[in-house]
Amino acid sequence: MLGLDSLGVVVTTALAVAAGVALYRFIRRPASGGSTGQTTSLCETTHTVGSSGQSTSMTATEDIDVNRLVEFQAGRSGKGSQLEAPTLPATRTTNPYASDTESPVVGRPDSHMPTSDPPPRELNRDLSNAHDQTHDISSDEDSAVDDSSLSIIIDDITSTLSSVANNDALIPAVIDEQLREVVALEQTASNTDVSATSYDSPATSDDDLCALASVGLLTPSSDPVAIDFPVDRRSEESKSSSDAPPTIQPPPASSEAQDDELDIACEDPIDVNANDSDLLHDLDTVRRYRPAARTPRELRPASQRRPKDSDPRERALSIALRLSFRPGGICQFSLLAQRRSDFPYRINVRMLGRTEVFSTLQDDWYELRAPAELGELLRSGAIGVAVLPGNNILKWTLAQRDVYVLGVVPDFGGYVTVSRLVIGEEHVILCDSALRGSVADALAAAGCAAFSEVNSTDGIPDGWIAFRNVNPTKPVPALNDGGILDTLRPLADLEIALRHGIKVDRSDWLLGHGPTIILHGDVAAAGVVLIDGQPAAINDAGVCDAPGKGDIGEHTVWSASKFRSYRIVEGLQEWEAWPAHRPSNSVVCGAAVFPMSGSKGHERGLIVPSRDAVLIGARVGEIHHCLPDPRSRSSSNVVFPAFDPIWLIPRFPLRCDRAIPVIHTSTTLSTPNAQTPDGSVRRSLREWCRLILDAHHRRLVVEPSNATTEALWNAYEQVAHAHWRRLK
């Protein structure tokens, strides 16, 4: 239930934001009319604060809103990677507006402002000053300037809000919501063409109504114009000589009535009176950690698989716990957050309701000191969010869990979170005190002897205990019930190796040359091994076999300890030639010679003596000039006529050396075809006939010299003679 003081704070806060919104809209006047763009549905934002300090849950709708704010901050500061979340000045202890029933307004805080808040009228002046300033800025056509001016306003609002708020813990939650609205409205303006007149009703959506109602800015009315915003900010401001700020309709004086009225469209209202340390959660609900079930899984259909080119940043990055033992056995904790090579060296992350600085420890990991509320953090988990330039949102998660298994990890000192106990390796178990007995029993079942207990006197967070010198020696079958104690059941030390065969790609083997599946390690404790769901036969050497393991398609090899998959593919079955070598007018690729690309000739070439000769086909008009390549200087030449060549005739039979023969080039006795090819020109017809008749007149020798060839040549002569007469 809202107290009067708290109510005043809320109202003041809301008015400040609303004023900022008005200023912002003035700056970002749209060019033309259009529909409104997207807005943040703050109605979906629930923030339930129990007055008794119960744990809270906070569901944010759009992480991006806060992040856009962060981006604005970064843009204003000019820092690409050093993103600064809104910094909050010291809070106030009194609410100057507690007795103010008039229009509560927020103004632009001045850096020279005293720590105590000025009376409203001075704040009004400040607001109008800010407004004038932004007005001047907005006259600049550079849109980047508008962003910077907006960010200035946001900063100012932030500072003002913080200066009147009572509760540090509440400030982030409250401001986050208000600032989200600002950012959302900014998005609306930047993404749409909205006429100035549309700003008559600032609360243009139910979402906005919810947002404003949730902070006491709106009476329970469906009238979208319950809040009066100036129609034309610039004209209004230029006219005003008294620096009157935009007025906002005050909420009802009765807080109780307001409480009831606030429940209209939104869910639980914000209890601004809460002083709840449970406001450590940030943005999203943290999920509870569940160990992976060691059960056979079917291959997901391709439609459900994550696409290979999906942005890996869409998945949350993980946060791990690291424990180091200092001299004297004192425990020191730190957190490790995943990092990628393109992440900045240092990054500000919004987590636990405040800004944490992640510093690079290694290429793949950030490190940050464990917070004071580590115990609660470990039990409840956390989410951290940051924004990189380009609106790339990063999200880290530390899941809720009651048992942490810490092991020795290469490249790290101390003990770092691992998924479960591993036989033969040393671990530290951190668990909730309530699970002490169960954990101890589980460790004993895993063959852990001589482990010792560490408690808060040695630096373990309150409510937690640790077991060190944990060395499991026996595998324990997992229950696969999702219980956290499954992490204390070490798997059999087993490895599934895929050897031999012809590996075509990462996990693809060639059909007929599939992998040999070999088990290494504690095969006896491996239990059942399934290949494609079928029990595999395992020989003494650990080689697994099952029907169909070499068939085309995807295959799985499953054991309780390990899982492998592979695929059998057929590989390419067709191969095309390409211009690998282009020494002359043809192309050599492998063991064959091909025509140049774009050539109309057949792919099958013909080797002819390198001289000025012509190939003719069976049909009248089929001719192909064999022009020797002067650069080749070879005794033979490869040509690619567009028809099946029958004879090779010197180009000028009447002038050539009589020893040069007419060569029959075809392997078949193709008789002449009197029909002319389609598209033949008269010139080619004449040429075809001339070559034959001139060779006949010159009495050139025909090769090979036999009766069949001679008879065939005579037939061509007759056809040529008949066509020649016709052409005349």
Partner: protein
């Protein structure tokens, strides 16, 4: 494991990078330790003791199973289409199956080649040589058609006919001599058939000659022609220099149909490919203690030997 698995892998993929090829050799090919130990990429190709992957690469390229080429940033390879490269023998025709292959294509070939025998000949550090022999050329044509092969009649002559003569006309890219004291200079001695160390000044003052420059892992082959420096390939540069020096090195034995060359003067890739397609076998490498080592190409028809020698501007002796 042999070159067959390597060719199957290459055929299944179609193309890839040099790094992938080397990785596949490491994974697929088991050879003796001596061959695996030497991983120096700078070993000249015309000397003995090549690293295994270089040996495999050379043989794949010699026969025409794959083409290796340089691209910006590295080297790549691509398998060639399957071809039935036919060569005319004395009384028959023999077709060698060169290029990509898969288990499926081999099974199909074995089916369509019947009743002719699909012969398999093993080749060291190379895929098996598959061949089909017939007295009738049309039979081979049909085998190629049914087997999905490109039919190349008279493959050796066809390849040689498509090539240019190896002479000074191939020198077309004038370049500058690399700057830097770290470069080492060697000149090819045509008479002795060996490389001799020289100085930068020797090269800059030479009007003709083949030079090899080395600096760390880089080797440049340059030819000085009338005082201008050109870039050239190693084999072509040697034959240009040999022609210039009128040094005859090709020997042909018509009785045994054997063409012999000094090992240091291995013919350019495509000419050698034409020679190998006459027999389907690698040349016999003969080592002499007091004389240059020799390469003997077998079953070379006289016409092929003449054409090859003409391209190399050599006279057969």
């Amino acid at each position: 494991m042999s070159g067959n698995d390597l060719l199957l892998w290459m055929s299944a993929r179609g193309s890839g990078s040099w790094t992938q090829f080397r990785t596949a050799v490491e994974r697929l090919y088991r050879s003796d330790a001596n061959a695996m130990a030497d991983s120096d990429d700078t070993v000249p190709a015309d000397s003995v003791g090549l690293p295994l992957y270089q040996d495999l690469r050379l043989n794949l390229e010699r026969f025409g199973f794959a083409e290796f080429f340089s691209v910006s940033g590295g080297y790549e390879w691509r398998v060639t289409p399957p071809v039935l490269a036919v060569t005319r023998m004395e009384r028959s025709y023999i077709g060698f199956i060169i290029g990509a292959r898969s288990d499926k294509s081999i099974r199909r070939l074995a089916t369509v080649a019947a009743p002719n025998v699909l012969t398999v000949g093993s080749v060291r550090h190379a895929p098996d040589c598959l061949s089909v022999e017939s007295n009738n050329l049309s039979t081979l044509t049909e085998v190629a058609s049914l087997g999905g092969l490109v039919f190349q009649q008279d493959a050796p002559i066809a390849i040689l006919s498509a090539l240019r003569v190896v002479d000074g006309t191939l020198l077309r890219e004038p370049v500058q001599v690399p700057i830097g004291k770290e470069w080492s200079f060697e000149r090819f001695r045509e008479r002795e058939l060996r490389w001799a160390a020289v100085t930068r000044a020797d090269m800059e003052h030479a009007s003709f000659g083949l030079f090899r420059l080395r600096f760390r892992y880089r080797t440049d082959i340059l030819f000085r022609w009338s005082g201008v420096t050109y870039i050239t390939s190693l084999q072509e540069g040697k034959y240009i220099a040999l022609k210039r020096a009128r040094k005859r090195i090709l020997r042909y034995d018509p009785a045994t149909f054997t063409l012999s060359v000094p090992a240091i003067c291995r013919p350019p890739t495509l000419i050698e490919r034409a020679l190998l397609l006459c027999s389907g076998r690698l040349p016999v490498f003969e080592i002499h203690s007091n004389a240059p080592s020799m390469l003997h190409y077998q079953r070379i028809p006289r016409a092929v030997a003449r054409t090859a020698s003409a391209l190399l501007r050599q006279e057969l002796t």
